[in-house]
């Protein structure tokens, strides 16, 4: 029973990851750089970060763009590792998709959230939604001033950093998987400018 339940959760994440890949690759002038779906271990994070930095450098991307993409990927993956909920097998079912398009990159990340925490995540995102860079910087500095890392190592600055690096081009969604879990997904656009 547990196995079927866990498999269904992983299949749900995989299906979402696949549909993002398919939709993106249908667009003209795009290149799929990376798609990783499944449990996100610390070793997976290391390999993804190494691959991204190396790939973008080999492609001759400007340093500031590499740094922006790297920052968004670091903060997103650490968010998944710190805040993502485990499924019934203790796996952090999640995905990350990175695609190149004209003028920049798109990054999609998804992780599990307990249904009862969806309201809290929505309200954190609502606070920064539609704000411009200087308003986000004010919140960032305030969080830094009084910020304390939680036991898990998070401080809430990650999402603000992602918003700053992407000029607040954030989109997010919630898809209920079952009576316990929801798939939270975030789409970030990073441009060269």
């Amino acid at each position: 029973m547990t196995e079927r339940y866990s498999e269904a959760v992983e299949e749900f994440c995989q299906a979402r990851c696949d549909s993002i890949k398919e939709d993106f690759t249908k667009l003209p002038d795009t290149e799929l750089i990376l798609a990783n779906c499944g449990d996100l271990s610390e070793e997976n994070v290391d390999s993804i970060l190494y691959f991204i930095e190396d790939k973008l450098e080999r492609d001759g991307e400007p340093k500031n763009l590499i740094k922006k993409v790297f920052t968004v990927v670091v903060e997103s993956l650490q968010n998944i590792r710190i805040h993502g909920t485990d499924d019934s097998d203790g796996m952090k079912a999640s995905f990350i998709v990175i695609g190149k398009e004209v003028g920049g990159y798109q990054i999609w990340v998804g992780n599990l959230a307990a249904n009862q925490s969806v309201g809290e995540i929505k309200s954190s995102l609502a606070k920064i939604k539609d704000l411009n860079a200087s308003a986000i910087r004010k919140i960032y500095l305030n969080s830094l001033t009084y910020g304390k890392l939680t036991d898990k190592g998070g401080a809430g600055l990650g999402l603000l950093t992602i918003a700053l690096k992407s000029d607040n081009k954030l989109e997010f969604g919630f898809e209920k998987i079952n009576e316990k879990l929801t798939l939270f997904n975030l789409n970030v656009k990073v441009s060269a400018n």
Binding site: E42, V45, D46, L49, K63, N64, K67, F70, T71, V74, E75, Q78, R81, I82, L141, L144, T145, G147, K148, L149, G153, G154, A155, L157, G158, L160, T161
Partner: protein, 126 residues
């Protein structure tokens, strides 16, 4: 008091606190998953130095290539300890290096300077 030294890791900076020479350096990339755990050692060492160190002129050297948001909080905690050393009569000079015209690192330095009491940063553009 003896030196505090940690070699640079895959995602952690080199830390070299040398009370004898008066140079305290943090350099490299800093994005460990659990930044609080990584920086606990140098913070504890600094707490001890606050108790035992005799006032003198010291130089803090920061040379970051990359720093994650969680690490920024920990570096701020280090800086606040150094500001306490300043209050205790130490002369504290902060050298914040900015490599390759890296605007992010410069802005991070300015943010940290604004939150680190009366410490004054000298920005070294390389």
């Amino acid at each position: 008091m003896s030196k505090f030294f940690i070699v640079e890791g895959r995602n952690t900076p080199k830390i070299n606190f040398d009370p004898e020479s008066g140079t305290f350096e943090v350099s490299g990339k800093s994005y460990p998953e659990n930044a609080e755990r990584f920086f606990r050692g140098p913070l504890l060492w600094l707490n001890k130095y606050l108790d035992e160190g005799k006032p003198k002129d010291i130089e803090l050297v920061f040379k970051f290539e990359f720093i994650s948001s969680a690490s920024v909080i920990c570096v701020l905690q280090l800086l606040r300890q150094f500001d306490k050393l300043r209050e205790n009569g130490f002369g504290v000079k902060v050298q914040w290096h900015v490599q390759d015209d890296d605007e992010d690192i410069k802005v991070t330095g300015e943010d940290l300077e604004s939150l680190s009491g009366k410490l004054v940063f000298n920005y070294i553009i390389e």
